[in-house]
């Protein structure tokens, strides 16, 4: 069949539904049918699903002209989505086309939610089109005979690639693709991505750096420009604004007004605890919202979340308080308005959230911005500019993730086994492992077969065996089972399931939060007041508490966001405007705060770098304001603390936020010496970073998911308790033994590398220091904390750096248990 005829089939189908294909859709169809790979840059809700399902089906029609009468068996295409919640929607879209065109193609879903019986049915007879997640994809590679299943598969589509890129799940996808490409060299690979700064690189990561697939590829952009209106919610009187905390709750009336004005409103919060707080606050003040207001975040039971999503579509809800859990995927047509509480920290995220509203063609997106403390209002006007100029961040892909490679190798060993020479060739084509050396490869092989590089006589390490013909294979059933369970484990803080005494799963909360509670304590979670009865087997048993009693809100450590470099730059520029006449509405409203700041200190201009020092009951504070975002400040704080500590023995506690950082000490810092010694130099930055204790602390945290992914920590299956008797250990403890006994282990070193590349963002750090070098340092000795310093010095999450000996420090410290 000619392409024109095929296109007619598709266009007629569109016309039949009263639609007209967009140019980007037909461009994608053409490229796909030409056998090309590619990346489609299109936002959610633009029709991207049909841009790719259509050509998959047309391709089937093309090669099977007799398609209406004779069905050709076997898997034809895979659609990978990062969120299993999206699979239903994608399946419906595929079925609509496949059924209307009478192709007889069957669509199936395979995710963590798919029942065992359904999975085994699929094993016998694969659906024609399969929708799955990166984890389930790995699991399929871990089952016997996977090659014959994938042999017939002609296309694989990675949806929301921008979400996966820059994560280890993205690396999992890279590896799976490297295998599939070799099973079927005709495989077409397509990604779909929202707008990010490094789209070209996104395509390279998807297809493989040195791969022939990349040679034969295209990039298609949807170019759908929708007008986005950013509206700041500013209170009448500025002094009602807290300098920090309170989560902006004093603006609850304004939010209620916004909700009343539109059909459905999504209220985005940055953290789950903020989400809980706002939900509660709205209901307490406006009980009439009950039944029309819902909450949605990642720790709430899946069934509840699905119910909320459906209710939005069915227009049953006035408003939903949510977190990034609703950033992705499905269209919520009824949503007219979006409220962002607190700085979204990144332009891409903000745009995505704004795009959640006004889905009807021609409609504008309205997003209200609600600052949670005064300085955050600067972010609002910076964001407006970002939207106007479409400044968007990059997603930085991972390089050399040994943990994911080790997991993948065991996966292949679990199913049909592998020969190292073949797999080595395949992975060298990927972006992540393009630079792998023979020694590094050997490390990974040794790790899975011998548990380290040397082998002692009494050692009983057991995982992957090398068979007589050189095949790497897992032969133990229990090892295989444990590995399969590990693949799907979501990496994050150790979580515990919350259940009612009589059964009934409510959701999960982090262990550290639970550990602060004792039986009888009341806490608020999933919008309910719950009384803790007991904790047993990783389960938190609760009952409903009396609604009148006092309670604490559940809180989460994870999900603290940092400003992107683009955002920080915009904020700096915005703030410098505070010294000029051209102030935005937001800045003007901050005038009282600026006045107060100027009383003791200054509002810096673009050629000034501000340092403030003052003394409080807590000790001597030194605050530095680079305005570079939390992560960069975390690194800068530790480098500065380290460099100062070289001048004389001193111990610091470090705090930072998106605007600056603080070094707090029990003795005064000689700031003149800091300036005289040019401690802001970018020279020797890398060594100084490594020397600072802080890097160890960060690496320790990074090591947590490395240890889980590489199979060093035994986790049960989510929601199910698998007995791992005597095999429980924290990744922290494992980190320590590696540090003390095997510091050259690549996994241990990876934790540091990730810290430097992904967390400390060394490149950004150097740029920041170079900028500071060219600025005039303004050191203000203040009498008391300034408005700028307040959010930083009250931060309770702190790191420590010391050049005093342990014994010296212990002498000065006490075990203080005053509550």
């Amino acid at each position: 069949m000619k392409r024109e005829e095929l296109f007619d089939i598709a266009t007629n189908w569109f016309t039949g539904r009263g639609w007209k294909p967009f140019p980007f859709q037909t461009q994608t169809w053409t490229a796909f049918l030409q056998g090309k790979n590619g990346l489609l840059n299109a936002p959610t809700g633009s029709g991207k699903t049909y841009a790719l399902w259509i050509p998959v089906i047309l391709d089937y029609i093309k090669s099977n002209p007799n398609y209406k009468n004779k069905h050709k068996p076997g898997l034809k295409a895979i659609w990978i989505t990062p969120l299993r919640a999206l699979s239903t929607e994608i399946k419906q879209a595929a079925e609509r086309v496949a059924d209307d065109l009478e192709t007889g193609l069957k669509v199936g879903v395979r995710t963590g939610d798919t029942s065992a019986s359904e999975r085994s049915k699929q094993k016998n007879k694969m659906p024609d089109l399969l929708i799955t997640t990166p984890e389930s994809m790995q699991l399929m590679l871990a089952s016997k005979g996977y090659e014959s299943v994938f042999k017939t598969c002609g296309a694989i589509i990675i949806d929301e690639w921008h979400e996966l890129l820059g994560t280890k799940r993205g690396v999992q996808v890279e590896l799976a693709l490297s295998r599939l490409k070799h099973i079927n060299p005709q495989l077409r690979i397509w990604g779909i991505s929202a707008t990010i700064g490094n789209l070209k690189q996104a395509l390279e990561v998807l297809l493989g750096t040195k791969s022939p697939a990349l040679q034969n590829s295209v990039m298609i952009r949807a170019h759908i420009n929708k007008k986005i209106n950013v509206i700041s919610v500013i209170p009448e009187k500025m002094d009602t604004y807290p300098w920090r905390g309170h989560m902006g709750l004093h603006l609850v009336d304004e939010v209620a007004n916004i909700i009343r004005k539109s059909k459905t409103t999504l209220i985005f919060c940055n953290t789950r605890s903020q989400c809980e707080l706002w939900f509660q606050a709205l209901l307490t003040k406006y009980p009439e919202f009950a039944g029309e207001l819902a909450m949605h975040h990642g720790s709430i039971a899946r069934e509840t979340r699905q119910w909320v999503e459906q209710a939005i579509r069915d227009e049953q809800l006035r408003a939903v308080v949510c977190t990034s859990s609703l950033d992705l995927g499905v269209d919520f047509a009824p949503v007219e308005t979006v409220v962002q509480i607190g700085g979204p920290k990144g332009v891409a995220r903000f745009l995505q959230r704004a795009g959640r509203s006004g889905h009807q063609p021609g409609q504008e997106s309205n997003i209200y911005f609600l600052a949670t403390h005064a300085i955050e209002l600067v972010e609002a006007s910076a964001l407006r500019r970002a939207v106007k100029e479409t400044v968007v961040e990059d997603r930085v892909p991972y390089l050399n993730s040994w943990d994911v490679l080790i997991q993948y190798l065991v996966t292949l060993a679990v199913s049909d086994g592998f020969y190292p020479t073949d797999v080595f060739k395949e992975i060298q084509d990927t972006f992540c492992y393009q630079g792998i050396t023979a020694a590094e490869w050997q490390f990974c092989l040794n790790f899975i077969t011998r548990g380290s590089q040397s082998l002692q006589a009494y050692d009983e390490y057991k995982k992957v065996e090398i068979e007589a013909d050189g095949k790497f294979k897992v032969n133990s059933k229990t090892t295989a089972l444990r590995h399969r369970m590990q693949i799907g484990t979501i990496v994050g803080d150790s979580v515990m399931n919350v259940k009612f005494l009589g059964g009934g799963y409510i959701g999960s909360i982090e262990e550290w939060f639970v550990s602060k509670l004792s039986p009888g304590d009341i806490f608020i979670f999933a919008g309910r007041k719950l009384e803790l009865i007991r904790i047993r087997n990783m389960e938190v048993i609760v009952r409903m508490a009396n609604p009148g009693v006092k309670a604490v809100h559940a809180s989460w450590m994870g999900g603290r966001l940092t400003l992107s470099s683009q955002m920080s730059e915009l904020i700096r520029e915005e703030l410098y405007d505070a010294n000029t006449e051209s102030m935005s509405r937001e800045l003007r409203s901050l005038e009282p705060m600026f006045t107060r700041q100027r009383k003791e200190s200054i509002v810096p201009t673009d050629n000034q770098f501000l340092i403030e020092t003052f003394k409080t009951r807590e000790g001597y504070h030194a605050i530095f304001y680079p305005f570079e975002g939390r992560y960069v400040h975390e690194a800068l704080a530790s480098v500065m603390a380290y460099r100062i500590s070289l001048l004389s023995p001193i111990t610091f506690s470090l705090a930072y936020n998106d605007y600056g950082f603080e070094l707090l000490s029990d003795k005064e810092i000689d700031m003149q010496q800091v300036l005289d010694n040019n401690l802001f130099t970018p020279l020797h930055l890398h060594t100084d970073l490594q020397q600072s204790l802080n890097a160890t602390e960060m690496a320790r945290r990074k090591f947590r998911d490395i240890a889980v992914i590489a199979g060093l920590v035994f986790t049960g299956y989510p929601g199910k308790n698998v007995k791992t008797k005597h095999l429980q250990s924290s990744s922290q403890l494992i980190f320590e033994v590696f540090r003390d006994y095997e510091p050259n282990n690549l996994l241990f070193q990876q934790a540091y590398r990730e810290t430097f590349e992904h967390q400390l963002e060394e490149g950004r750090l150097i740029l920041a220091l170079e900028r500071i070098q060219n600025q005039e340092v303004v050191w203000k000795q203040c009498e008391k904390p300034t408005p700028f310093s307040f959010p930083i010095i009250t931060d309770r999450l702190r790191e420590r750096l010391s050049s005093e000996t342990l014994a010296e420090r212990i002498k000065k410290m006490t075990a203080n248990y005053m509550k």
């Binding site: 057991k462 000790g619 403890l733 212990i810 000065k812 006490t814 075990a815």
Partner: protein, 214 residues
């Protein structure tokens, strides 16, 4: 490296390894060694560094050489799990050391007692001597001072400038002393002292009394 204290008119020496020495009885007390833990993990495919295995035996040699005791009492959790090859290392160590050993069994000690018998190690649930009661689990008993383990105690210190620090410790209350875990790769549990408790923190080279404020 050590610190001498008095309990019930007996002299005890706290060692920074976590071991405790009863001078009058020339008795060495060690709790929660968790031998075999690394091998257990490795057997199940978690590649914990093998060097940790040797470290435990090096530490054991160090304290034995330092105190030259007449007997060694393990206050439970001597071996982490079921039998594995580390048992043979332990066996070699017992034969080489050639000092009477008594094991107060803990929750992890699930190896067949016959195996200990072969090494002439006596197993019991508790031991009483001169008003001192040795157990694995902490226990309060009328008329006795209890020496025990199980908890892997650690103490959290705080200082000016919002510093904090976690140290494994000996934890002494009115009629009880909980020993820190001796084994490497064992982890700790932070306990909160009450008025009247005494805490001795251990570091790589010292034992230090901790000042507790309320």
């Amino acid at each position: 490296m050590t610190l001498e204290i008095e309990i019930n008119r007996n002299t005890f020496v706290l060692h920074n390894s976590g071991a405790l020495y009863w001078t009058e009885k020339r008795m060495l007390l060690i709790s929660d060694a968790h031998l075999g833990k690394v091998s257990h993990f490795r057997k199940y495919g978690a590649a914990i560094p093998e060097a940790v295995i040797n470290k435990n035996f090096i530490k054991l040699d160090e304290v034995v050489n330092y105190f030259d005791p007449e007997s060694i009492y393990f206050l439970g959790d001597l071996f982490h799990s079921e039998l594995n090859n580390e048992w043979y290392l332990f066996q070699q160590w017992v034969e080489k050391t050639n000092i009477p050993i008594i094991l107060i069994a803990g929750n992890h000690d699930i190896i067949n007692p016959a195996k200990y018998c072969e090494l002439n190690i006596q197993i019991t649930n508790e031991w009483k001597l001169n008003g001192i009661l040795l157990t694995h689990y902490p226990e309060i008993r009328e008329g006795f001072f209890n020496l025990c383990g199980h908890v892997h105690p650690a103490i959290k210190l705080r200082g000016a400038g919002r510093q904090s620090l976690k140290l494994p410790c000996f934890f002494q209350s009115e009629n009880q002393m909980i020993l820190p875990a001796f084994g490497e790769f064992t982890g700790t549990y932070v306990i909160e002292p009450k008025e009247g408790d005494t805490v001795y923190g251990i570091t790589k080279d010292t034992v230090l009394p901790v000042i507790i404020t309320f």
